[in-house]
């Protein structure tokens, strides 16, 4: 129910291609800029990069949870990025390809607003069968529907 509130087809990117960490993050926040929850993409990317430089958000199975609190955020928002087959390199320290991104933009004035959402996404990501099914989504709408129906 909680994920459903954040999942719409326009928040899902299929076929996310590799590039620098900054390029990937810029692609991930584009839907948030489009809907107006992120008001300053340069600031948001800088905040996400700073967060990644402190401790990577990539977990053991390669899934990344880039997130940051920022003054450039007006409302908590989530973008899901499904990478091209085989995944993309995201964290230089991690010798893993990242197949899936959950990018969270958190308003600086509500710094813990994302905790339940993060818990749901982390729980979802622990079961590789669920992850594989999400990765095989044919359309953004199908991915949004599948993730939105996760009861975690």
């Amino acid at each position: 129910m909680l994920l459903k509130n954040f999942m719409k087809a326009d928040r899902v990117i299929l076929g996310l291609e590799g590039g620098s960490q900054e390029q990937i993050l810029r692609t991930l926040i584009a839907p948030m800029v489009q809907i107006g929850t992120v008001t300053d993409p340069d600031q948001m990317v800088a905040d996400l990069l700073r967060r990644e430089s402190e401790v990577t958000t990539v977990i053991d199975n390669g899934i990344a949870f880039p997130h940051a609190r920022s003054n450039a955020v007006r409302a908590l928002s989530l973008t899901v990025g499904i990478a091209v087959e085989g995944g993309v390199s995201f964290a230089s320290a991690a010798n893993l390809k990242t197949p899936l991104f959950f990018c969270l933009a958190i308003p600086a004035f509500a710094p813990t607003a994302h905790m339940r959402l993060l818990q749901s996404l982390a729980l979802f990501s622990r079961e590789m069968n669920r992850v594989e099914r999400l990765l095989q989504s044919a359309t953004p709408a199908a991915a949004a529907r599948y993730l939105g129906n996760f009861k975690g």
Binding site: V55, A108, P111, M115, L118
Partner: protein, 111 residues
């Protein structure tokens, strides 16, 4: 409290709260991996720099949620009540400690 006698460094308290939230995030995402050790170390180093009385208040507030809240448009975003302009002026000029007169949270006044 008396004017000009507070020891509240709102930037340090904001940073401390940020580190505590970061630790919670690491627990959720990485499930207690070694990545959290460096953040714990930073947190302890920062706590050592903060006045014990202020730290005690910070901890009490954190136990209930946020200790440092933003103020936007004159409203404390912890309790959602307005802070009188006179109080905001005194906070902004550094004459009184930056805290909400309604809920007691330390406040960071957004420009």
């Amino acid at each position: 409290m008396d004017e000009d006698e507070h020891n509240v460094d709102i930037d340090k308290l904001s940073r401390l709260q940020e580190l505590e939230i970061r630790i919670s995030e690491l627990d959720i995402v990485h499930q207690g991996s070694a990545d959290a050790d460096a953040v714990h170390t930073q947190r302890e180093a920062l706590r050592a720099q903060i006045d014990p009385l202020v730290l005690s208040r910070f901890d009490r507030l954190r136990a209930a949620g946020l200790a440092v809240a933003h103020v936007r448009g004159g409203m404390c975003l912890s309790c959602n009540l307005s802070i009188p302009q006179g109080d905001l002026n005194r906070i902004n000029s550094g004459k009184v400690e930056p805290s909400c007169p309604n809920c007691g949270s330390f406040v960071h006044v957004d420009v």
